[in-house]
Structure formats: C-alpha cells, structure tokens
Symmetry: C2
Subunit: 351 residues, 2 copies
DNA sequence: GATCGCCGAGAGAGCGCTCTCTCGTGTTGG
DNA sequence: CCAACACGAGAGAGCGCTCTCTCGGCGATC
C-alpha cells in the first residue's frame, strides 16, 4: 500500500483514472466493475489490475444519480409522541431486546444482498415530515416500518408515497402495504391452553397497551380461549410492555383477584415484573400461580423460575420482512403479500 | 394534494422544473433552497411558492456528487468472528440494552443536525473489507466504531483511511482517533470502596472477557483498589458479559471461595446471573454477600435485591461521540480530542 | 454627466457514473 | 469470396445539482 493510497485528501480515483491506466475506455471499466458478461477476458484482467493498482472504489452518489437506486433501506421506528417532560432522551424502543432481534434478522438478509440499513426515529410531526421528505429524496430504496400504535398515521402516509415498504406487525387500519407478524390470537390461545391443562381455572392476564393492535389481539385471543374452555371470567390489567409496568399491573390484578392461579403475561419483559410481584406477595411459583409469557426473549430462560412462554420467531420474521421488501423494490407492481407466522410454546418451569 | 403528487412513478420534480414555474434560473432556486442570503425577497417568495406547488425535494445523490458530503454517518459494530457452528444469526450486540442506549444517545445529537445513521455489522474479513470500501466510496461522512476486542484490527484500519471517526471506548493499541469512554478504573474503585465500607473483606470479582480493554481495566482497577485497602487476595472469575456467563462464573468463584462476602460484577447483565447463583447457593443478599454491578442498566433496579451499581452515563457519552464526530467532519485537521467520563455509584439494596 | 463599484441573477461547466448507440472486427453461411 | 451477422469496445449524452464566473443594472462618487 502506497502513501498515496493512504491519503484521502488527494483527488479520489475515478473511472477515468482506471480507464487510462488500463488503456481502455470508461465504458469498459464500468462493465468490468459491474460484472457485465460482454468483456474480453484479456481486457477484463487488465482492468482488474488497474483497479487494484489505483485502489479504485466507485462513487455511490454518481452511480445513484444515474441508476436511481441507492442500495439502502430505512428501518423506521415510529413511536408515540414524547411527553414534554421527563421523557428519556430518545424512545425506549432501542433498549428493548426485541428490537435488537429485529435488527439482527434484517441484517442477516440485507448484508448478503449488499443493502445498507439506515436507522431512523419518528416521534413527532417534524421528524415525520423529515422522514417522508427523506424518502421522496430517493435516499433509500424502501422502508421497514416498526409502528406499534393504532393511531399512528405513518403507515397510511407511507403507503401514499407509493414507495416500497413493509410493516412490522399488522396495522390497525387496513393499508395497502405488506406486513409480517405472528398469529397473536393463536399465541394467546396456546398460553391459555397450557394454563388450563395444568389445572388452572382462575386465570388472569397482564395485557399490553390497548392502543397497540398486537396487544389488543393478545387480549382478545386470551378471552376467546378462556371462553372456549367454558371460563367466562377473564380478569385483566393493562401495562406498558415494561418490566416495572408489568410488576405494577400484577399488583393491581392480584389485589382484585387474590385467588388467581394462572396468569398470561403479554410479554416476557412484563412477565419478569409479574414474577417479582407474585414472589413478593408470597406466592409459590408455579405451585400457587402458574405464569406464561410471550416472546421467548433471552431473559425468559433467566427468570426465577424459568419462564414458560409463547415463542415468536422474531429473527425469521425480520428476515422475511427484508426479503419481502427487497422483492418489492425489484418488482414494485407485485401484489403486497403479507405473512403471518405461527407461534410455538416453549415449556419451562413457570407453568 | 393532487393525484400527481401521489404518483412517484411520474418523473420526479427537479430544480429545473421549479425554476421554470417560478420563472427564474436553476441557480436562483438552488440559492433559495440552500438559504443563500443574496436573493431578492420577491424572487425568494416566488421560488418558495414554486417549490410548494411542485412538491420539489432535492435529490441527495446529485447534491452529494458535487458537494462531496452525504450528511450521514456509519455506526459500525465490530464483533469477534462468528464461530462456524451454532452461533446466533447475527451478533448478540444488538440485543444488549447497552447498545440501545448508545443508539439513542447518538440519534439525540444527529437528528437535530440532520445527519442520518447507517447501521453496519462487521464480523469477518469480508464484511470488514466491504465496510472499508463503503467508507472510501464516500457513502458516509464519518464513522462511530464500537469495537470491544483488543485484537480487532479495525480501529487501526479505520485510522489509516484518514476519514473522520470516533471510537466507543479506548482502543487496546494507541490509534490516532478520538475515543469516548468512562473511567473504568475509577468505577471499579468505587465498587470496591463501597464493599469495603460495608465491612466486606473477602471480596471477589466477576470480570468481563480479558480480551476486551474495558474488562481488563475494570479488573485492574478492582485489584488496585483492594490493594489500596490492604487486601492482597483478589479472587476472580472471567465471564462473557452475558447473564448466563455471569451465573456460571459465579458458581466457579463460589466453589473456590465459599467464604466470599462481597462481589464486584463487571456488568449488570452478569450481575443478574450472579445474584441468581448466589441465591440458589443459599446466600442471603446483602447480609451474607454484597454485590455491586456496573452500567446502571434498566435491569439493575429490577433485580432482586435491587442492584447497587456503578453508573456510566451511556447516553451522554454517545451524544459526545456524535458531537466529536460532527466536529471532525467539519474540521478534519483538528487534533483528535478524546473524552473520559466519570462514573458514579448508584446505591440500592444489594450492597 | 461619466466612471466606478457593488449587488443580485443567469449561464454554464462540471461532479463520476451508466447506458445507449455506433462502429470495427471476427465469424459464419451461402 | 462476399454478404450477413454477432459480439465486444468506444463515444457521448445525460442523471440533478452546486458553484464559479460573468454580466446587467443601479446608486454613489468625482
């Protein structure tokens, strides 16, 4: 490696430079770089050597300008507007291990495809406007949108741009965009079936925020499953998908229904809080109260007792989102095909 | 909004179009869009109306091509090479809540600056090469590198590109790049001081992987602090910064030193595992064994008992990295100025 | 009243690349 | 042996934008 190669201040190497050192035209170098088949092997070799010698790297901006592609997509997290006071710096979504799994699953497909991922946060009108204009600027070829609140206008606005996009989870209102999600109702049913098969009859649930479609469906699935077992009483408390929220909601639920012998908690993180509350209330687990979580996060196995939980294949779902999106980028006219994954029950000690 | 505006298939609006509808030249539109001062207010108004009417959004690729800037940076996570078998799809880094806090802190500074963040994972030669060539392509203006392993060649390679970059944490080998980190030794000292002031004398530590500089320094700080208190025996066990690893290492440590009355665990996640092991071994916490963690993650407060821990201001540190990077992008010739933050002790129930 | 200077706007040259079109060469068939 | 053809390579026209340079018009100066 020459000193030249180390100095980026020097004029960057262009196609022209490579062409000159290889003794061919710009067009030929372009063909070689882009793997066109119609190049004489001898010339190809010469060009490759010239590329090597000059340290040439294509300029993405110039390429995008003519191809109208950027080979990158946006991962957009749309959160509820921050409250004016005391909110953490930036949304809590990023610290949720669930989100990390989504990122991992996406990258697993995007990286081999040579597609980069831009991470964006939308949490108010300004950032929403910025994001939409960013999209229209053609800065990314498509979008994966993580939007959890039913009232979020972003899925609709995104659909209206007509640009390729995929949603993480079914939107509250029907929108002409493909989505990927787990069968929430089936998951809740599995949890209830497990609790019932363990002989539990006084079963409650800690539900997620009822302005989130996913949380709504888990609650509805819970109720339907209980009804299917002939149980009409379905006590529940709402929490915010955090550990602390789960603990607090469990306290409320327990004070109103001290005789509970089973709980379906709509996320593992909340289940951690629920277990804590139950233990502190003197319940033995699972003898007195059996608990089933949702997600099968890494923490589930580390709970005390280890958490029986409904597994959703987050990484595979994320990978599928990436594939769906790349497909739509390639053929935008195809019909928006969604995918619903089946959850499975992971049996551990808590139920 | 007209039907036209909704149809992206239609030829996108360019500067030329705006210029025509406003009855001015391209140059003037460009001046208005970029806020140049030397524009007649009347014309400016006309242009703004034309921009509004046409729905014009500047093309980033074209702009980058001439300005040589992209207004985006890369957040690069460099992990140890994956093992060939049984490794999870993509590195575990993303599911670590610590990482989420870093992302949040970065975005907090980048968003107001209008700078986008591209998330990249480097975990083998191929992806490293891809990343470096991505950089040289000028696809991003700078890099924030999260690299934790001492043997990682990436910090050096990154420095050699001469492009703006900031490191999360001090690199093992000195490299001409600014870094941001917490004073690891001081943190370990705070933990030990706390344990000693609680009357503990038989103190061990669960250290992080000793191929990570941060983990090394915490261990060294631990030893130095014990020595300062006249304690020469410093038992320790190494773990991998995971919950399960922390639990396992604690088992080992405890079997060799059953009389331990205090433990400094080099991360909260590992501390969760340590608490579990200690409880299962019949120790009362904190009466029999006091425990101090490191990080002050969200989970620390949710532990049973709540974890006394060394807080590092992750979000502020990340924000500082972003500021440092933006500064270097603006003035690359400035000297690479690093920052070391002071940790604080958060007192809870475990020690 | 002529000259100078200044300010604001337009003209136009690229930025580095892709891609179509054209042309020259080698190959095949009649 | 020549026409028809295939194929590989070069020429050149942009992609949409910024920015320098130039120029017209105006007020100030002598």
């Amino acid at each position: 490696m020459t000193a030249e190669a180390l100095r980026p201040a020097a004029r960057p190497v262009t196609l022209e430079d490579v062409a000159r050192t290889a003794g061919v035209s710009r067009a030929t170098v372009s063909r070689v770089v882009n793997g066109a088949p119609t190049v004489d092997p001898v010339l190809r070799r010469k060009v490759e050597e010239a590329v090597e010698a000059t340290g040439y790297v294509p300029n993405q901006a110039a390429r995008s300008l003519v191809t109208q592609r950027t080979d990158s997509i946006a991962l957009v997290v749309s959160e509820q507007e921050r409250r004016p006071v005391a909110a953490p710096l930036v949304g809590r979504m990023f610290t949720d291990p669930h989100f990390g799994r989504v990122v991992g699953g996406l990258l697993d497909v995007l990286r081999p495809a040579g597609v980069q991922m831009v991470l964006m946060l939308v949490d108010d009108d300004t950032s929403r406007r910025q994001f939409l204009s960013y999209l229209r600027q053609g800065h990314v070829d498509g979008t994966v949108l993580v939007s959890s609140h039913a009232s979020d206008p972003l899925p609709r606005l995104l659909a209206e741009t007509g640009l390729p996009a995929v949603l993480a989870g079914r939107p509250a209102r029907t929108v002409p965009l493909p989505y990927v999600e787990v069968d929430q109702r089936a998951g809740a049913r599995m949890a209830v079936d497990r609790l019932v098969s363990e002989g539990r009859r006084r079963i409650g649930t800690i539900a997620g925020p009822q302005d989130m479609p996913a949380a709504q469906e888990r609650l509805e699935g819970f109720r339907d499953a209980l009804a299917a077992h002939g149980i009409t009483d379905a006590p529940w408390a709402e929490a915010d998908f955090t550990r602390a929220g789960g603990a607090e909601a469990t306290r409320r639920l327990l004070s109103e229904h001290p005789d509970l012998d089973g709980v379906f908690v709509a996320s593992d993180l909340m289940a951690q809080g629920a277990l804590q509350t139950l233990l502190r209330a003197g319940r033995r687990l699972p003898q007195d109260v059996a608990v089933v979580g949702f997600d099968d996060s890494e923490a589930a196995g580390a709970c005390e007792p280890a958490l029986t939980t409904v597994r959703q294949p987050v990484e595979e779902m994320a990978a599928e989102m990436a594939r769906l999106l790349l497909g739509r980028i390639k053929r935008p006219e195809g019909s928006p095909l969604s995918m619903v994954f089946r959850p499975t029950l992971v049996e551990r000690a808590s139920a």
